[in-house]
Amino acid sequence: MTRRELLLRSARLAGVASIWAALPARTWGALPAPAGWSADEEKALDLIGDTILPETPGSPGAASVGIGRFIARMTEDCFAPEAGVALRRGLREIETAARAAHGRAWLQLSTAEREALLTAYETRSKPATAGGVNPFAHLKRLTLLGYFTSEQGATKALRYDPVPGTYLGGFPLAAGDRAWAQ
């Protein structure tokens, strides 16, 4: 059953079937590419996001939901200019660390190498001072937001329940059950 059918059925049960016809069926689609960010930078960001949240059984990795473009675009749209500066600094630091440790570019590293590098980078990165931006915390925050609010992330990595119908205060949780999407 599609989401719209489900909603229609709920509405009919509620005795207000006609309302869906009146609602604007409005979707916006993906954001356009942000100005000033190259395809290579987006690719590097994609791989950072995919290292934080890789493909696992049943759900894709963050690169498959276009996390690189999301991180760049959100940084431009929703943060003060310092965040963009910090994000570029983070990309440079990750690239430098890749070359120092492995003699290869970030994009050329294996999964294990990328995970080790980002783990070390997170451990080393200092908490942001007042008004400052911690590049890794920024990357992680936007990776989580972009992935878990994407259709794939919300419906495959989590449980998405757009029209719960009611609230059950004693709903059980079995081992391995996913959290609800927002």
Binding site: E115, A157, G169, A179
Partner: protein, 583 residues
């Protein structure tokens, strides 16, 4: 009588009820404002057979049609609910409201749209549209108890001209129509209403209730009461409203009409009588006073878009512009009889403004209960009715507070605070985290003469109306109340078995509670108050004020249900008085 300004010739002609123009501009009743109380006034007046004009300063909003984000999935929102830096920077006040986001910002006034002067910091959150803030309210609906009405006189700072028994039938009246869910708890300090089935506690909240009630005699934990249709009755289906689906996306407007708002309920109902005229984009500049009759004769309106000035006339006028704008309109309604503002004979108008104290909050965790979860997004929390100074003064601050709390298990948001990357990290943060608890206060503040609003003598708004100056602040008593709540909250969370308790005084500005009240207060004594027991101006009885401005004190309960009951009661009083020929 009329001011004979040449520019308003056409309008002036309209004051003679024999001309066709006059008939078009004359109604039985005018309601200023279409929010939660104005909607109720309009519904009751129309139901009683009165031709009613509702003036709304904002744009039109139609139920369903004008909820562009109501069924948007998270991924349908380009910025996933977040606001752009541009909007945040341009709205230092509005951005503080928890409900202002990418999916709802179209229902909030942007800072630049309606400037005001803050003599003391006041975060004025506004919703200028048909439906007003009833589209974006938090929907918690407790009745006031007799302690809320009687306490101010006991403590000597205000005297309500009505008691619980006067309002109880009107609470029932508005509850049946609006649809209020709640449990019948049988508490004198939180009277029961005409309830639809209650929402459930979750496992940890039920556990906490046991711990708190056992450790603290006389303290009660109940499930919140809210304006959501948990089981629609015929009266709700007749309004075209359906059952709440526990989506908790209410601030976008509800596609099921499941929570109460003016646009989902009272205004369409009033329109169906054929007696309602709804006029959006109509900024009321002032109420006109006729010295010959001693009554208000109508209102002067500035068109929000064209700035054209028009006058409308009626036998009774309801002022429901929301607390501070109701004050502003009355202050700006100056005449030979009332040089300081309509109804003000004793320098009281705009004074004794109060609000709710929300500064204190706590967070904690709860070990265990790892096989328990919940399903759905509940539109309310656990509530604790006031247990402070209820029957006598017991603390070093006056009045009391309600407590709200909820328990939840964080989902992916726990990822930010969890170190790590990769498959194991992803696996961990996609499973519900350990239980967390949040707790907050809602405290009564005492209306004081110095907490006031007045008109600016220098600054005007885009419609040529003087801007409002806000001069509203906390007292040491308010700070003592915050400290008491944080101390008691910690003790109760400890008794409930919580761990890692953190307390916070966020020192927020008054106003962010969005529970501002007073300035045109009710009272017994015309020398000490502006409104009588029916919400009529003592000095101009065909003007009723039935929104938050009329409140003589704030109580501890969420206020909207009381505004609704006062508005319905006053509208029926007006209809009775008109029938008798008194008004």
């Amino acid at each position: 009588m009329r001011r004979g300004r040449g520019a308003f010739r056409f309008v002036a002609m309209a004051s003679f009820p024999t001309t066709p123009g006059a008939r078009e501009h004359t109604y039985d009743a005018i309601v200023i404002g279409s929010g939660i109380s104005g909607g109720w006034a309009a519904k009751e007046l129309c139901d009683r057979g009165l031709r009613t004009l509702v003036l709304e300063r904002g744009r039109n909003v139609e139920h369903l049609k004008d909820y562009p984000t109501a069924v948007a999935n998270p991924w349908d929102l380009p910025r996933r609910g977040r606001l752009t830096h541009e909007i945040v920077s341009a709205n230092p006040i509005a951005k503080k409201c928890y409900a202002f986001d990418e999916a709802t910002s179209h229902f909030f006034v942007k800072d630049a749209e309606h400037p005001y002067q803050q003599e003391k910091p006041f975060d004025w959150i506004r919703g200028y549209q048909v439906g007003g803030k009833s589209i974006i309210w938090a929907r918690q609906t407790q009745r006031w108890s007799r302690f809320d009405f009687e306490g101010p006189a006991r403590d000597g700072f205000a005297e309500w001209p009505i008691g619980y028994e006067d309002l109880a039938p009107w609470y029932s009246h508005v509850e049946r129509f609006s649809g209020i869910s709640g449990n019948r708890d049988g508490l004198e300090e939180l009277p029961d209403g005409e309830f639809l089935p209650p929402w459930e506690f979750n496992t940890v909240e039920r556990h906490m209730r046991g711990g708190i009630e056992k450790a603290f005699a006389g303290r009660k934990v109940v499930i919140g009461r809210c304006a959501h249709l948990t089981e629609p009755q015929p009266i709700h289906l007749e309004q075209g409203r359906g059952k709440c689906q526990a989506r908790n996306l209410c601030y976008r407007g509800c596609p099921f009409g499941a929570y109460f708002s003016s646009v989902s309920s009272t205004l369409p109902w009033a329109a169906r009588t054929g007696r309602l005229t709804l006029r959006p984009n109509s900024v009321v500049e002032s109420i006109l006073h006729d010295s010959a009759t001693g009554r208000a004769s109508g209102v002067r309106v500035v068109d929000a878009l064209t700035r054209q000035v028009t006058e409308f006339h009626a036998r009774v006028i309801f002022v429901n512009a929301a607390c501070l704008n109701t004050n502003l309109i009355l202050l700006n309604s100056r005449s030979a009889r009332f040089p300081a503002g309509l109804g003000d004979d004793h320098g009281l108008l705009g004074r004794y403004v109060a609000f709710h104290n929300y500064r204190g909050s706590l967070s904690a965790s709860m070990d265990g209960f790892l096989d328990a979860y919940y399903r759905g997004r509940r539109p309310t929390q656990a509530m604790m009715p006031n247990f402070r100074n209820l029957r006598r003064q017991e603390t070093d601050f006056p009045r009391g507070y309600m407590v709200f709390f909820s328990a939840y298990r964080p989902g992916w948001t726990q990822g930010e605070g969890t170190p790590g990357v990769g498959a194991a990290y992803k696996e961990r943060i996609t499973q519900p985290g350990p239980w967390r608890i949040s707790m907050m206060m809602q405290g009564e503040t005492v209306p004081r003469r110095e907490n006031h609003v007045r008109l600016s003598s220098e600054h005007k708004d885009p419609w040529g109306i003087p801007q409002l100056v806000t001069s509203i602040g906390y007292t040491d008593d308010d700070v003592r109340m915050v400290k008491d709540f944080l101390r008691e909250g910690e003790a109760m969370l400890t008794a409930a078995g919580a761990k890692g308790i953190r307390t916070l005084d966020d020192k927020r500005n008054p106003g962010l509670d969005i529970h501002e009240m007073g300035g045109v207060r009710m009272g017994k004594d015309p020398k000490k108050s502006l409104l009588n027991r029916w919400n009529q101006l003592h000095a101009c009885p065909n003007v009723y004020v039935t929104d938050g401005a009329s409140m003589a004190s704030t109580g501890v309960q969420n206020p909207s249900l009381t505004f609704m009951a006062l508005a319905a009661r006053a509208a029926n009083h007006a209809a009775d008085e008109m029938k008798k020929g008194i008004l």
